[in-house]
């Protein structure tokens, strides 16, 4: 009956041999390369964005032919699973075994906050796309940058442009996803709405991952608002829009998707269900400038004519920013690259941008789209047009990044 510690010691040795075989696959990095990690969700609830983001990043790398400042770029990817634990482990593993010095990665505030700690501890640069404002806010530090527009900028743009398009609108009703980022956006909307002559007549918070909005919709409709303003993302937002349409709220009255990925979310909705939506997004593929056209062409070629959405653009944008820092500094050392990026002013495929040194926020345009009716669409991807852009910067006094610290 006595269990042996292990059935035999030699078995243990077999285990070790096995382990050695395992580890052969992990390669050893070379010092004359620049190693960049793309940490994207390839599996898990946001599995859709991983591959798209990765492709976007690769297009940016192909533009420079995988070389920078005379060095080869080694680009590796890891699966974040949209789980903070595995994401942090794999980021650390890539830093240790692949000698990664730069991380780009999108999605999920939980993952971002975990990875930003890893970046800080290991002194590697981290360029983040969007989903929490803490990267350029409460949790800011010298090694992390934020690519998406600031949340305040976004909400300001949504409200401003909505009011311009619907001058008679007075009352809005808020659907808010119930976690930190949702609350932040809600706070901004409530403080900004009066400025544009809008009154928030009701707020409903729903859990993340909610799929059943009928109860909120009936509640909202009883208040007779001029628009429903949604602060939720991805499938939550899609489900809500679909059900608002079922209930006959749209297309009679507009629905605002305030922080949307744009293309990816709209394509999941039937044209009938997406009529009369006002969509705030960090990117839409019809942005009119030569650099964006070049990117869209390259992307379409890879994806059988499907234009890029936010994920693809984020991958491209994050990689472009990282490469820009290297080009400007002539170095591939994170600290020099970071210093070069601070207070940089430039123009790229989303338009004019500046990188603030005090909080590492990329100050850039936020786009507001109006969806098209079915008979106005030229092809299946012609879903919306950019009505307006705005890049008003978040006032310094409400930014939570009080001291970005030092290296």
């Amino acid at each position: 009956m006595n269990k042996s510690f292990f059935s035999s010691m030699k078995l243990k040795i077999t285990g070790i041999v096995f382990g050695t075989l395992f580890s052969i696959s992990s390669s050893i990095s070379l010092s004359d390369t620049v190693n960049i990690l793309g940490l994207f969700p390839f599996s898990g609830p946001y599995a859709d964005s991983g591959k798209l983001t990765d492709q976007g990043a690769r297009i940016a790398l192909e533009e420079v032919n995988y070389t920078i400042n005379g060095k080869k770029i080694k680009y590796v990817t890891r699966d974040s699973e949209t789980k903070a634990g595995p994401a942090a482990r794999r980021a650390q593993e890539a830093i240790d075994t692949e000698g990664v010095k730069f991380i780009i990665g999108p999605w999920s505030s939980g993952v971002a906050l975990a990875v930003t700690e890893v970046a800080k501890k290991n002194k590697v640069m981290y360029y983040f796309s969007g989903g929490t404002e803490d990267i350029s806010g409460k949790k800011c530090h010298k090694y992390a940058f934020m690519w998406a527009a600031n949340a305040w900028t976004a909400m300001d743009a949504d409200l401003k442009i909505f009011k311009k398009a619907n001058p008679n609108a007075k009352k809005i009703y808020l659907f808010v996803v119930d976690y930190a980022f949702g609350w932040t956006l809600q706070k901004y909307v409530e403080s900004l709405a009066p400025k544009y002559g809008l009154e928030v007549v009701g707020v409903d918070r729903h859990p993340l991952g909610h799929r059943e909005y009928s109860t909120f919709i009936t509640k909202a409709m009883s208040k007779n608002p001029d628009a429903v303003y949604m602060i939720n993302f991805g499938l939550d937002a899609i489900s809500a829009v679909r059900q608002l349409n079922n209930f006959g709220f749209t297309p009679k009255k507009p629905v605002i998707m305030s922080w949307s990925s744009g293309f990816e979310e709209l394509i999941q909705l039937d044209p009938a269900a997406r009529e009369n939506l006002i969509v705030g997004s960090n990117y839409y593929y019809t942005i009119d400038n030569p650099e964006n056209k070049k990117f869209v062409e390259a992307y379409k070629k890879k994806f059988k004519g499907v234009p890029p959405g936010y994920a693809g653009a984020a991958g491209y944008g994050l990689m472009k920013m990282t490469l820009l820092g290297m080009q400007k500094s002539g170095s591939t050392e994170p600290q020099k690259v970071i210093t070069a990026l601070e207070e940089h002013k430039g123009k790229n495929f989303v338009g004019d941008f500046e990188i603030r040194g005090r909080n590492h926020q990329t100050v850039r345009p936020f786009f507001v789209l109006q969806t098209k009716k079915k008979n106005e669409m030229k092809n299946q991807y012609d879903m919306a047009e950019v009505v307006d852009v705005s890049s008003t910067e978040q006032p310094k006094n409400i930014n939570m990044c009080k001291d970005i610290g030092s290296f």
């Binding site: 009956m1 006595n2 269990k3 042996s4 510690f5 292990f6 059935s7 035999s8 010691m9 030699k10 078995l11 243990k12 040795i13 077999t14 285990g15 070790i16 096995f18 382990g19 050695t20 395992f22 580890s23 696959s25 992990s26 390839f42 599996s43 599995a47 991983g50 591959k51 590796v76 990817t77 890891r78 699966d79 699973e81 789980k83 903070a84 634990g85 595995p86 942090a88 482990r89 794999r90 650390q92 593993e93 240790d96 075994t97 505030s109 939980g110 906050l113 975990a114 700690e117 890893v118 501890k121 929490t132 803490d134 949790k139 976690y179 930190a180 859990p207 993340l208």
Partner: protein, 318 residues
């Protein structure tokens, strides 16, 4: 004698491990090693399948993280977090061990979800969706090496303690309950009481591991208390094999290594993991440890003792 050799082999593994795997990975392997070996006390030795072990892992991680954030020293945070999961395990175990089989699985699963949503909603304390962030490691274990040594020592401590339990009379009672609960009852053992003890031991050590986990990445991600994590814990344990004391450790090492490796090769890697699990269940029910054992036996048929163990296992499975 054999035990002594295995122990030496384990020590060797602790020394060689950091050269085989990236530092963060091997540290995590040791932490989940504690989880899997202790879960095996309940799963393999007592024959109870709990689908809620992440509850204890996560709760303890939160307690220890909050204490560290509150300025308490590490040598207080770890025992109190462990104690916390012990107390919770008694409370939850009290309700769960009344039921058997599927109902026990359902209950532990549902309790896990309940705690997950508490953690999710109680944002001021747990950080909710964002996780509990900003937990600093004390200066004396701040480098990767010192932290690894610290974890390895804790791991050894846990393994020795668990081994003592398994080889004690208590361990025999657990096995008796697994083999024949009604007989154990007839002999005069209070089966529910001993099941509760087994559940608590597993959960307490899982809690200990959770309190260490918070130190790896200086945070507690919310997914560490999600039921999918409970699933991972069960799979690691079964993957390694519940037939031997250290089998689950191989499961952990294999599981983490395979998932990290496959995830680089193919984005649809969970499919490969699924296939591997299915094959293990259908053909190698003893897990990797038994597979290795059999392979080894083929080359050198010397081990006589394992056959005896094989018999025990077969009676359990059939």
């Amino acid at each position: 004698m054999k035990n002594k050799y295995s122990f030496i082999a384990l020590i060797i593994f602790l020394f060689v491990g950091p050269f085989l795997f990236p530092n963060a990975t091997i540290t995590e392997m040791l932490i989940f090693g504690i989880v899997a070996i202790s879960t095996n006390i309940m799963l393999g030795y007592t024959g109870m399948l709990s689908f809620g072990q992440a509850l204890f892992f996560g709760t303890s991680a939160y307690i220890s993280g909050l204490m560290l954030l509150g300025g308490f020293p590490l040598f207080l945070a770890i025992p109190i977090a462990t104690l916390g999961s012990f107390v919770i395990s008694l409370f939850i175990g009290y309700f769960c061990v009344k039921r058997e089989g599927l109902y026990f699985i359902c209950l532990t699963f549902a309790f896990n979800q309940m705690f997950y949503f508490i953690a999710y909603v109680w944002t001021e304390v747990t950080g909710g969706e964002d996780g509990l962030v900003g937990v600093e490691r004390p200066a004396y274990i701040d480098t990767q090496l010192t932290f690894y040594i610290f974890t390895a020592v804790m791991f050894l401590f846990a393994v020795i303690a668990l081994y003592k339990i398994v080889t004690s009379p208590l361990g025999l009672i657990f096995k008796l309950i697994r083999e024949n609960a009604s007989r154990a009852e007839a002999i005069g053992y209070n089966v529910r009481f001993y099941k509760l003890i087994s559940f608590s031991i597993a959960s307490t050590f899982t809690g200990l591991a959770g309190s260490l986990y918070v130190l790896i990445h200086s945070m507690v991600p919310i997914d560490q208390i999600h039921w999918l994590k409970s699933g991972d814990i069960i799979f690691m344990t079964l993957f390694g094999g519940v037939g031997s004391f250290l089998g689950p450790l191989i499961g952990v090492v294999g599981y983490i290594w395979l998932s990290d490796t496959f995830s680089i090769i193919w984005a649809r890697w969970p499919l490969i993991m699924g296939v591997i699990f299915a094959i293990v269940v259908l053909y190698f029910r003893g897990g990797v440890s038994e597979l290795l054992e059999n392979l080894f036996k083929k080359y050198k048929s010397i081990s006589r003792k394992t056959e005896h163990e094989q018999d025990i296992k077969n009676t359990k499975l059939n």
